[in-house]
Symmetry: C2
């Protein structure tokens, strides 16, 4: 069977391998999960059922239902301080992965240079590489001076997630400003993946789009409301980009699932603060109980820690499974070295405490 | 704003332009619609609501829920006479457009030659062209002799829909055999898009997969059950292809919407024969009332006719809108000439009769 040449550039995600590993172990402590441990709030589920009762099972407009585009524009203006946001600049699509696929196809040619902040969400370099682009990385603790050294490079695209998957790091205003200036001076598209924006434990999060109008802002419903299986996200971008992405969406995704778009409207009205408070306490608990055992930066957001481990990451992951039934994700899929593991604290207290005790024993 | 070079190869679909045109006219007769006029059956809607009540809002396994893969394998064995179908050979994905996107990315390299049966679903040549492939067409009324003349060509992929969008044509066993032999001798992947399989008015439909095991069979729920906005489809293919597509799906679609997969299970149990009977009568009505006014082949299936018109297709479409408020789709997006229009008879009787009378006046 002959496959395309591109297919040799990707392989099965190690996160999924962790998932399969977990399914084979009895009563594992699973710290590998990339989704909240709480259920999708009931009001959102009811809104989706109501949409189904109202016959919302047919194609919607390609760019999404006008009601959700308008509500998202309003959210961007009021919650993200993005004053120029309008419904026309919003595309509704089917999860951040679909957003990335649309963007990489619409913006990137083979051999284009792209800058990715590291550690990174594994899909950025994987899919950029799949499409033949060349990836340069810059550590998340970069200074403006480090960015200005890149001024003479020809970047087509700059991408990062803040809060970060896998580290929980939230980029500072100084850092975001440096990236926006680099985008402006090199003509690169600046993509800000803000899917974890609500998981912001110390009120540090800023949308780069609030001060740089050419930003391409990615927002998701999956993580905030545990709608990971419902496939809904939005892109806010300059009008020309939205027009191009909408054309490409006609030929690929077609539209985000219709009843889910109506559920998204309800999701935006849902108060998630008690869930965030729970995760803030878990973030603190994990840090307080691991900081004397591992080299680790305190996570600002999302629900991850990126721990430096004393042995090679894959060996550590195997040891954790064998000795403690603890599932982790090896760090090499998020960065260029083999010295870290990713830990998700999106779990119940009981399981979290057991896992942290296990990690103390493994140090 | 700099876009990728690929983006210059596609433009906004004229089908959507027809859609927008329809939204601007008061009380149009809309024959441009590519979806059934009946609602999604209530038992399917209820199954989806039940899945939501059962908390099915999280990611599923990448390849789909095992229950649906198993049910589809069973459907392929019993309804399509595809004896080798197993759950492991089935990938659940998010609509035929997503299936095509996965396949074209996984199988086709720039400059690969692809054979498309014409008239064709506009996405085949559009997306193959987008990815840099070269498209050759072969008229749907081809003979085995015409196919054997192509034996020395190096095709990477052969694709067709049967029943056809836009003509309703169902390929004969002789024709399918010729295509399978061409695929076998040239090493091409054979893709059979069977989304309209249930709309088969004279019991002519055969799955090429029933006698050629390397076939890649595409099946959808959208048209059969009017679930176009729910985004669900499946691919049956050799194991190596399914493995590759599943890897690519991890990085793009991630999974089909979770509650919709459960609704798909219920859909498979739904008797659609009364709906099909209604469309059979409409097919006959359209043919009987147009055959003396237009050059037209009797449609075997789907819910389309492809009419030869006396003037250039776009002029005819404009004239139909202006004189009769009748919305049609110009034929050039489905074939290489400007001599046809596509008519969808997925409509209520009242509207259908008005539209056919208008077409008689326009002849």
């Amino acid at each position: 069977m002959s496959l395309s040449k591109k297919m040799s550039r990707i392989d099965s995600s190690p996160i999924r391998r962790a998932f399969e590993l977990a399914s084979k172990i009895e009563n594992p402590i699973n710290f590998s999960i990339g989704q909240p441990h709480f259920p999708c709030p009931q009001n959102i589920v009811e809104a989706m059922k109501k949409a189904l009762d109202n016959g919302k099972t047919s194609y919607t407009l390609t760019a999404g239902i006008p009601e959700l585009r308008e509500a998202m524009a309003n959210k961007y203006r009021t919650e993200n301080s993005i004053s120029y946001a309008t419904a026309e600049r919003v595309l509704v699509t089917s999860g951040i992965s679909s957003s990335l696929f649309l963007l990489f196809n619409a913006l990137v040619d083979p051999d284009d240079e792209c800058l990715v902040i590291s550690p990174y969400f594994l899909m950025y370099p994987s899919m950029l590489g799949f499409y033949g682009a060349k990836v340069t990385t810059l550590d998340q603790n970069f200074t403006p001076e480090m960015v200005s050294k890149l001024k003479d490079r020809k970047f087509k695209l700059i991408i990062f997630s803040s809060p970060s998957n896998p580290t929980g790091k939230i980029l500072s205003k100084t850092q975001l400003t440096a990236l926006a200036e680099l985008a402006e001076s090199t003509g690169a598209h600046l993509i800000s993946d803000e899917i974890y924006e609500l998981f912001d434990y110390d009120n540090k999060f800023i949308s780069v789009g609030s001060f740089y109008e050419k930003t391409i802002t990615l927002s998701g419903f999956s993580k905030t409301y545990n709608m990971t299986g419902l496939r809904l996200s939005t892109i806010l971008a300059p009008q020309e980009i939205i027009t191009a992405l909408t054309t490409l969406q006609q030929y690929t995704v077609v539209c985000a699932p219709a009843p889910v778009q109506w559920a998204g409207l309800e999701a935006l009205k849902t108060d998630m603060s008690s869930y965030i408070q729970d995760y803030r306490e878990k973030r603190d608990y994990v840090y307080d109980n691991l900081k004397d055992h591992y080299e680790v930066e305190k996570s600002d957001g999302a629900f991850y820690f990126f721990l430096k481990v004393p042995i090679r990451d894959e060996d550590f992951v195997n040891k954790a499974v064998e000795k403690e039934k603890l599932i982790l994700v090896p760090g090499y899929i998020f960065c260029e070295d083999h010295n870290h593991v990713r830990l998700s604290f999106a779990s119940e207290w009981d399981s979290l405490k057991k896992g942290i005790a296990a990690l103390q024993r493994l140090a």
